[in-house]
Amino acid sequence: MSAIAGIKPQAASVPQRKFGRAPAFAAALIAGILLAFNASGYHLFQYAQVLIYMIALIGLNLLTGFNGSISLGHGAFFAIGGYGAAILMAHLGVAWWLTLPIMAFICFGAGFGFGMPALRLEGLYLALATFALAITMPGILNYKHFDAYTGGTSGLQVDKPKVPLHLPLNQDQWLFLCCLAAAMLMLFIAQNLVASRVGRAMVALRDHPIAAQTMGVNSAMVKATCFGVAALYAGVAGALDAALVGFVAPDSYSVFLSLSLLVGMVVGGLGSLWGMLAGAIFIEFVPNLADSFSDMFGESAKALPWAVYGVFLIAILLLAPHGIAGAVQRVVAFVRGLMAKASPNLTPELPAISAGNQPAEQNHRTTQGS
């Protein structure tokens, strides 16, 4: 279809290793620390939520942007992470930070286990399978024979983590900084994964599945591993979220969460890891923005924010069809072009063989079915 016409080098994804990633990380950390000591508790709560979404989005992007598989059910693994962590904390007294690696491990297993059979499906069928997972998850969490552990629909209360070692921080600052550290670490891991042998196999499978298999890439294994890694990220995000919110319930993980994650990934930019920060900011703050925007329509407009949100969403995708990262890259390329014209010595870096080059084509192809 027309999607083929849309392939342009957008949202390049392989980190530019030569040009050093340290400055970006350092800038993010400094910005985060500055925020931690200047923002109010409520805002820190929101920012922490942004970072948690970012972690989940990075995982989803590894799966979709780099491996070309669609998941409409990422919220389900977020839920497993959240519930798992809550159960560990509430029933088994496990320290909250310990739940992160445990849930990472468990969710990897869950994702791998689900991915192994499901990834034999492609495109639409995979979309259905994962969508079904997202829809049935609240029902499973609510399953009456699990009530003793899950607390049924009234959910589970969790004690929010306390600030350790008498650090001069309050609880919100501490949680925010923990989320910041986790997000940066998970981002760093993702960047390295993408640049590794496995990462190249992932991308190869996305772009030329048959060619990749001919070259000896074990398709089923790599795809399922990738699904597992995506689930791992969602699980870590979910576990952090349970600690931050201090509460889990089936209604926390409705299908809306999965859709929001999908929205965040696409708005952020398919195939761009830093773009996930933009995507996370979008899904955390734009609904609130829409809310205050629709307040202008008066009292009866209580239900209207989501219409406004929908319009915002369409508008931003019109402006940036390849997500915010894609748009930023276009601007950067444009500026570099100008600079190159001004001083011919500077050759603009080509975003050429980047991993995010052809998500459009691949997704299109898989959507057509096998």
Partner: protein, 401 residues
């Protein structure tokens, strides 16, 4: 500046969260000025429970009416009602915004079991009243563990217990089939039934079937109940599924007695199910059936209709949820009136604990609200009603639980 936030945020602090710089006693709560009282609330204006959004709108309209009349003790009421989409994490975020940004004095009528459960701990730690929560789950009437959280609705277990007593009195050999929503709401009815039907009576419940809110219909479940040969059906269902159950049980020719949970018993819902199909239903009510023309001369109804005419749209008159919201807002106004000039959080809670035989315009005659330091369930009596094909008619006297 951090110290204050810290207190609010950690909530672990034992000191009153009204601000470290103010003396702890006798100080008014944040959000209270000489001219205004700020109140916060979360409501599902969007999402799966948006049908209840009208409760928040009615309450806002009620306070608007009060303000037009001069407010309470000279103060205007400013209800800040935020949409949580029935999502607990969103409710937590909203509540933090209300408490920390908007500086509300307390939380009133936040709706939904999961949302209230999510914010209960935070509010209790910070000693902020969470008053008259809009859910009938029993966990919100537990003054021993959550002294700052108070219920409003008669709880679902008590309602179910009343049905069970009614069944025992009228049909002691009944074979009961239960359709329940598979969440706290529905499960509370089962618990309530079983609390009365104990011992050899327990076997009276011959078949229970559940449904998930994500399903399109409960037709299959009703067929199953009918197939199990029950002669009493109890539908512990929310409106859409309640209407389907009423319709389908009629369509498959069920001849026995049917009980319908009162959240689904509002007239517009029965109209959707078909008035013929709804004939003979029983429910335990506390809100007036405001669609009943027999009420035309009732003082409470006239007050309600006049209010709707001026502050709501015309369809709200017959909406049971709106009538419910009116009653809750009236109760809240009464508590604030009792507070007089001492609007500290402690006194607001104390006055909420001190309702004596308060009556609301939209609640059934005889329904009075009473609270104390140990009784956090304001409404304890219910009225069995029978649907005659056009309106609900009370049968017998009030039943106290």
């Amino acid at each position: 500046m951090i110290s204050r936030r810290e207190l609010l945020a950690t909530g672990a602090a034992a000191t009153v969260a009204t601000g470290a710089t103010l003396p702890a006693l006798a100080a008014n709560a944040p959000g209270v000025t000489a001219t205004e009282i700020r109140i916060g609330q979360t409501m599902p204006y969007s999402g799966p429970a948006s049908a209840y959004g009208i409760i928040g709108r009615t309450e806002a309209a009620y306070f608007k009416m009060l303000n037009a009349k001069g407010g309470i003790n000279g103060r205007k009421i400013n209800l800040i009602s935020l949409d949580d989409g029935y999502s607990p994490p969103k409710a937590v975020e909203d509540i933090r915004r209300l408490v920390e940004q908007e500086k509300v004095a307390f939380i009133f009528q936040s709706l939904g079991t999961p949302s209230n459960a999510a914010i209960m701990k935070y509010l209790n730690n910070a000693k902020i009243p969470q008053l008259f929560v809009a859910t009938g789950a029993a966990i919100f009437s537990d003054p021993k563990h959550f002294p700052w959280t108070m219920g409003f609705n008669p709880n679902y277990q008590a309602e179910a217990a009343i049905y069970a007593k009614h069944i025992l009195a009228n049909n002691p050999k009944a074979k009961i089939g239960v359709l329940y929503q598979n969440d706290d709401f529905g499960q509370d009815y089962l618990v309530g039934l079983k609390s009365v039907l104990t011992g050899d009576k327990a076997s009276m419940i011959t078949k229970t079937v559940s449904y998930e809110v994500s399903e399109p219909t409960v037709e299959s479940q009703i067929v199953t109940l009918q197939g199990a040969g029950v002669d009493v059906m109890l539908f512990a269902a929310t409106p859409k599924f309640g209407a389907q159950a009423v319709h389908k049980s009629f369509a498959v020719g069920f001849k026995g007695v049917r009980y319908l949970s009162n959240v689904s018993a509002a007239f517009p819902i029965l109209k959707a199910a078909g008035l013929d199909a709804a004939k003979g239903l029983l429910t335990a009510a506390y809100v007036k059936d405001t669609s009943d023309p027999a009420l035309a001369k009732d003082a409470g109804y006239m007050e309600w209709a006049a209010f709707c005419g001026k502050y709501m749209d015309k369809n709200a008159v017959v909406d049971g949820n709106a009538a419910y919201g009116y009653a809750a807002a009236q109760t809240m106004a009464q508590v604030l009136k009792q507070c007089g000039n001492d609007l500290s959080r402690a006194n607001i809670l104390k006055q909420a604990q001190s309702l004596k035989d308060f009556t609301c315009a939209t609640l059934l005659p005889g329904i009075t609200l009473n609270t104390s330091a140990t009784n956090y369930s304001p409404i304890r009596a219910l009225q069995i009603q029978d649907f005659d094909g056009a309106h609900w008619k009370s049968v017998g006297g009030l039943i106290h639980s």
